[in-house]
Symmetry: C2
Subunit: 358 residues, 2 copies
């Protein structure tokens, strides 16, 4: 049996519920494929703030770095919303991304045929949507220096941040995107604002220069405002999208809502080496926390991404993906994706149904 060490970061809100369900699914699929998992649960986010006063304790960061992959639930809640910036759960997320150097965030947005009605888009527009957004995750305006709030010469407050990308940061995320597109339908759309931003001019130049190394991938460029429109107008036109940290934050959330099933969407954050970080796209949903109402499928599918992208265990990953489809085909639905004629279940029961199908 191959052994893997997995760090679990349940976090806040519905995080613990969905992680506990996904862990069981991961364990079973692994077991059937000859894998053995050792799980270590560590405090993170608001839970860590309450416990030890910081959102990312040293021990959590160290455990994560020493493991083979990290599965994260969700972070944040009203309770910590008024905290100072460095004492907010979000800071834990930003810091662990940086500590792990996971610069490539893969966010699929797919509309499953079983769930096409969940989209607010017309059926003919939504059905068949299947794209992958590759978001740069450890650079740009999220981390750029200088940043802060100061007093200017008129004695008034000024807030500022720096959007900044070095050539190698652009190149490495572009390579991940070209490779991703190559394994999909061979189309890559790079999104920037090169008609206004210098950082985007360099971005476009570097991405364009790399294209000759991937002759099998068809590269196009789009301004971010147009991309935000095109996602609504005709989301099927996209295969793989690559973009910077802040544009990726906005566009991937827009794309996920277009699928209508944000409770279904996983993500993977990968570095050049070292463990990857896997988490659902959705937030901690404090309003339904602890009520067994959460949809665990995004976290279960994040576990599948962990197997595929984090450990290279494609077979076990496929088992999980198939099990999810199976549970949906049997009509099991949590509240967020429920439609009449189906069976409404809670988080735990959905988890058990997926587990049965693995």
């Amino acid at each position: 049996r191959k052994r893997y060490n997995i760090t679990l970061l349940p976090g806040d809100g519905i995080g613990p519920e969905v992680i506990s369900v996904a862990k069981n699914v991961l364990q079973k699929a692994g077991f059937l494929q000859g894998l053995e998992f050792h799980f270590q649960e560590m405090p993170f986010g608001g839970a860590a703030l309450d416990l030890v006063g910081v959102p990312l304790p040293e021990e959590t960061s160290t455990a994560a770095k020493q493991s083979d992959a990290i599965l994260l639930g969700a972070i944040g809640g009203y309770k910590w919303d008024k905290n100072e910036k460095h004492l907010r759960p979000e800071m834990g997320l930003l810091n662990i991304r940086r500590d792990l150097n996971v610069f490539a965030n893969l966010r699929p947005a797919t509309v499953l045929p079983q769930l096409v009605d969940a989209s607010t888009l017309k059926k003919e527009v939504a059905q068949g949507v299947d794209m992958m957004i590759v978001r740069e995750l450890t650079g740009g305006i999220y981390f750029g220096e200088p940043r802060g709030i100061t007093i200017n010469e008129n004695g008034e407050e000024v807030g500022f941040n720096t959007e900044i990308y070095a050539a190698h940061e652009i190149d490495r995320i572009a390579r991940v995107a070209f490779e991703t597109a190559r394994k999909r339908r061979g189309k890559l759309c790079s999104v920037d604002k090169a008609n206004v931003l210098d950082a985007s001019i360099l971005w476009r130049k570097r991405v364009t220069a790399l294209a000759s190394e991937y002759p099998d991938v068809e590269l196009s460029h789009m301004y971010v405002d147009n991309a935000a429109m095109q996602l609504v107008r005709d989301p099927k036109q996209f295969d793989t999208i690559v973009t910077n940290n802040i544009f990726g934050d906005i566009l991937s959330d827009e794309a996920s809502m277009i699928t209508g099933s944000i409770g279904m969407l996983p993500s993977a954050s990968l570095g050049e080496s070292g463990p990857g970080l896997f988490e659902p796209i959705h937030g901690s949903a404090p309003d339904i926390a602890g009520q067994d109402k959460a949809n665990p499928l995004a976290t279960i599918l994040s576990a599948a991404m962990l197997l595929k992208y984090g450990l290279g265990e494609e077979k076990a990953a496929k088992m999980i993906e198939d099990a999810v489809v199976d549970a949906l085909n049997k009509g099991f639905r949590t509240g967020d994706i429920y439609s009449p004629g189906n069976k409404l279940v809670g988080c735990k029961e959905m988890g058990e149904e997926v587990l049965k199908s693995v």
Copy 2:
């Protein structure tokens, strides 16, 4: 008769066609309300680049500043896409916004009952959408210094921009937004990324502080990624949105596509004093330029905004708005908003139909 001087900036692509139609409508509505317009057409954008080598000639800027209001068509085209940044049509647009100091960009996104089918969103989601996006237009990352592309200590290229807002810049756009919300349904949503960006933390602080002066307006805050989702999930929840330059660029384009009739949407850019700049949301559409296929309604409605917000001539503005609805009620449609059962017309004929109804 009151006299007004209007600068016309037809620009590129379909710009000249839609401006020529809108000018006639503006003239007639004004005449019937006792107004007299003097129009001065000036070179701008790619047209100015071809003529005199810069996108915003000195004479154009001066004429604009000395007039009572400016009506702009659209700028840009493939021809100038490879130009260096300062020799691109877009630079003319950014510079005239700054020269006129029009910091408040009002972008309505409404779904007319006649056109609800044009949206890619389901009818029940799209119908009744009626929001106003108030975008900061002369600050933030669009103009922030330092900016550029340099070589770092490793000898590699680095591109960077500065997102920066001073307190007074936030306050003045927030005031416009509160006033706007007050005249609408009294709800203002401020969009930022205060969980990550320092500039957004100051933004939220200043907007929040102003709220006490507008007790009749209900203020809420939303992160930009969530806003991009909520626009797709339930656009009707929004009344007035206020946000920075780059987020406003992205969200207003997304919102306009949600209405399904981007060819219908006008905008107004206003300063504290001096002339306002009025233009359709759509671009120059070079692929259909000169073919009499463009939808002139966005520019005609921009002329209505010019009357209302630029000159305070609400009656004449209302005449134009009513005339547009009338032409739609009679079934006239340009290609972009055509659906079976209606009468397909070109740009000119649509203009004539609106003119008849004024």
